[in-house]
């Protein structure tokens, strides 16, 4: 049962920040070909907090990769900020990532041999920000995620929850338009997960960062304002989340 793409009344007069038009994605060729996305239409507006759910292999990760400009559709188009990403070069997509997107992964993906501060600073290095400012902004970001005083610790010396906070600090230091989170609480216990979700919600609420989060857990999805459910490469359900967070 597929519902009409939901138009949140709050945003319906604006242009969508993210727009999928009949997006398909096929991996492999011939017999082995696997259709990950089978014609997705989707609009996400600036400031939304979207949870993407669905069983493994339903296409939610592929969708997130395309939104994150790491992958491109086979057909259809993906419009980000009015730009057709499918027509961009690898370099232009990297620049989009650099300037508008922040990533948080299930496995944290921190550089293990760098300190928390160095990890958080890294995106600014690629933005050619001078060391002094980099330093200051990294400390600010770490303070935002509640890790003031942990700057010199390496990921190995931090707990899972703390590592994920560092990853979030790294993602928000560039003040991205969109924060993409791929099962950010997948490796954490419930208490830690709640803390992370509170942090993410606060970023959405206080800074207006658009959040798109893939998750398995209904508990975590309930923090979002909108839930999109994938099944077999199609959007099965797209609804506003009733629960107040």
């Amino acid at each position: 049962m597929k519902t009409e793409s939901l138009k949140n009344t709050k945003y319906q007069f604006e242009k969508p920040l993210i727009e999928f038009r009949k997006v398909t994605k096929v991996y492999g060729e011939g017999q082995a070909a696997m259709e990950a996305l089978r014609g997705i239409d989707l609009s996400i507006y600036g400031g939304e907090f979207v949870a993407v759910m669905g069983p493994s292999g339903s296409g939610k990760s592929t969708c997130l990769n395309i939104i994150g400009c790491m992958d491109t559709p086979n057909s259809g188009s993906y419009i980000f900020k009015g730009i057709d990403v499918g027509k961009l070069s690898r370099k232009q997509r990297a620049l989009l990532r650099r300037h508008y997107l922040g990533f948080v992964f299930q496995g944290y993906n921190l550089l293990n041999r760098h300190s928390a501060l160095e990890n958080v600073e890294m995106p600014l290095i690629y933005r050619k920000i001078p060391a002094k400012e980099r330093h200051k902004r990294a400390i600010d970001a770490l303070t935002t995620v509640g890790l003031k005083g942990w700057e010199t610790h390496t990921p190995g010396e931090l707990s899972g929850g703390q590592q994920q906070r560092v990853a979030i600090a790294r993602a928000i230091i560039t003040e991205p338009a969109v924060l993409l989170a791929d099962e950010p609480t997948g490796n954490l216990d419930t208490a830690r997960s709640r803390e992370i979700m509170d942090l993410v919600s606060a970023l959405n609420r206080d800074r207006g960062i658009t959040i798109i989060m893939v998750t398995h857990e209904p508990d975590m999805a309930s923090y979002a304002k909108r839930i999109i459910r994938f099944l077999d490469g199609l959007v099965e359900l797209d609804e506003e989340n009733g629960r107040e967070t």
Binding site: D71, L95, R98, F103, F105, N109, M122, I125, Y126
Partner: protein, 401 residues
């Protein structure tokens, strides 16, 4: 940005200190070997020049036969003593002229024997070759005329035959000739060709001719040119005189050769240079092998750090920036190897020049070239792994365990 990348590369090197050291070993050895070879070779060349100038750069050697090399001749018409006398008499700028004949003979004293170079000449020989008699005396005129059985020994011969015994007045036997030792030569050490110049017994030429060679031939005429006179001019004059004395028509080739010391210097330094070049080439191969080692380790490093590359690409690093990061790492690694190589080479060169008794001549050119070459090795062999890193698919790279 570049400075940051260099700092990052240095940190990466420190993290894998052991591996880094092993990786750059090839470069270190290559650079060190090339620089050491060239430095020692350069020192040897300088030494050859110094030794020859100590022999007197104003020395000419007139030998029968076509040019073969110092002291060597093919079996052409030999000289006579009169040829030497003619040179001394007719050519104004010559200082001293010594007719020289020599061959290897076993010298015997008591139950000691020693195979040495027995040279027949006269007192001019000492002047021409820049040698002096340290104790005893030179030949007297009558001894020279009559071919008396007297001899003057080099230091090596004295040591071998007499050890600590008193020498002057003793008699040694050279084939059938028993001759009295009347003098000892000042020590001179090794010659440019590695010959022991103190392994010598000098006897009057007439004694040599009568009692040893059995003919009136003179093997070689050594001529010293007067201070300030032109060697070339004297050389030409000797050639003209000898052609005349040997009745050569203008169409005949010379059947003798006048060799200038400069020519000998050129010949010997040429040999040294060739050897240096060959050894350096072999050493340079080690640089190449070192480069392959660096490529290997960089490839391993790219595989190991696939996730890191994925992260960097995901947060917006450009291909070019990842490429630079790995390239700089390879260059920092190889340049560091080069630097250690330079230090090692200079230490080894100073040490070796001491052992080989060759002067240490610092050659800034080869140090700079070898260092730059090591950096270039990093660029060349680091490029492929760096490209591999830069071309990674960020999604795949992030999934990599």
């Amino acid at each position: 940005m570049l400075w940051n990348t260099i700092l990052l590369a240095m940190r990466e090197m420190r993290r894998n200190a052991m591996r880094s050291v092993l990786t750059i070993l090839g470069i270190v050895i290559g650079v060190a070997a090339v620089i050491t070879m060239v430095t020692i070779g350069g020192g040897a060349t300088v030494q050859v020049r110094q030794q020859i100038s100590s022999m007197g750069s104003n020395l000419l050697m007139v030998s029968p036969g076509k040019r073969l090399g110092p002291g060597l001749s093919s079996g052409n018409i030999p000289f006579k003593q009169s040829d030497a006398e003619a040179i001394a008499k007719n050519i104004s700028s010559v200082g001293a002229v010594a007719p020289v004949s020599s061959q290897s003979i076993k010298a015997i004293f008591g139950n000691q024997n020693w195979s040495t170079q027995v040279t027949g000449s006269d007192n001019k020989y000492f002047r021409v070759t820049n040698r002096s008699v340290r104790s005893g005396r030179q030949f007297s005129d009558s001894e020279l005329r009559s071919g008396a059985a007297v001899c003057i020994l080099g230091e090596t011969v004295r040591k071998k035959l007499f050890g600590r015994q008193e020498v002057l007045g003793e008699r040694i036997r050279l084939q059938k000739l028993s001759c009295e030792v009347i003098g000892l030569l000042e020590e001179k050490g090794q010659s440019t060709m590695g010959m022991d110049q103190d392994d010598i017994v000098v006897i009057p030429l007439s004694a040599y001719q009568r009692r040893i060679s059995g003919n009136q031939d003179v093997g070689l005429i050594q001529v010293s040119v007067k201070e300030g006179a032109s060697t070339e001019k004297v050389q030409l004059e000797i050639e003209r005189l000898m052609r005349e004395r040997r009745h050569l028509s203008p169409s005949d080739d010379d059947n003798f050769h006048v060799m200038d010391m400069k020519e000998i210097v050129k010949m010997l330094t040429g040999t040294t240079r060739l050897l240096t070049a060959l050894l350096s080439a072999v050493a340079a191969v080690s640089l190449l092998v070192g480069g392959i080692g660096i490529m290997n380790i960089m490839l391993v490093s790219v595989t190991e750090r696939t996730r890191e590359i994925g992260i960097r690409l995901a947060i917006g690093a450009l291909e070019r920036e990842v490429l630079m990061q790995f390239l700089v790492e390879a260059v920092v690694l190889s340049s560091f190897g080069g630097l250690i190589g330079v230090v090692l080479a200079l230490t080894a060169s100073i040490w070796l020049s001491g052992i080989l008794r060759v002067p240490f001549v610092f050659n800034a050119g080869i140090v700079v070239i070898a260092f730059l070459f090591s950096a270039a090795v990093g660029v060349i062999f680091g490029y492929f792994p760096a490209l591999k890193a830069a071309r990674l698919d960020p999604i795949e790279a992030l999934r990599h365990e």
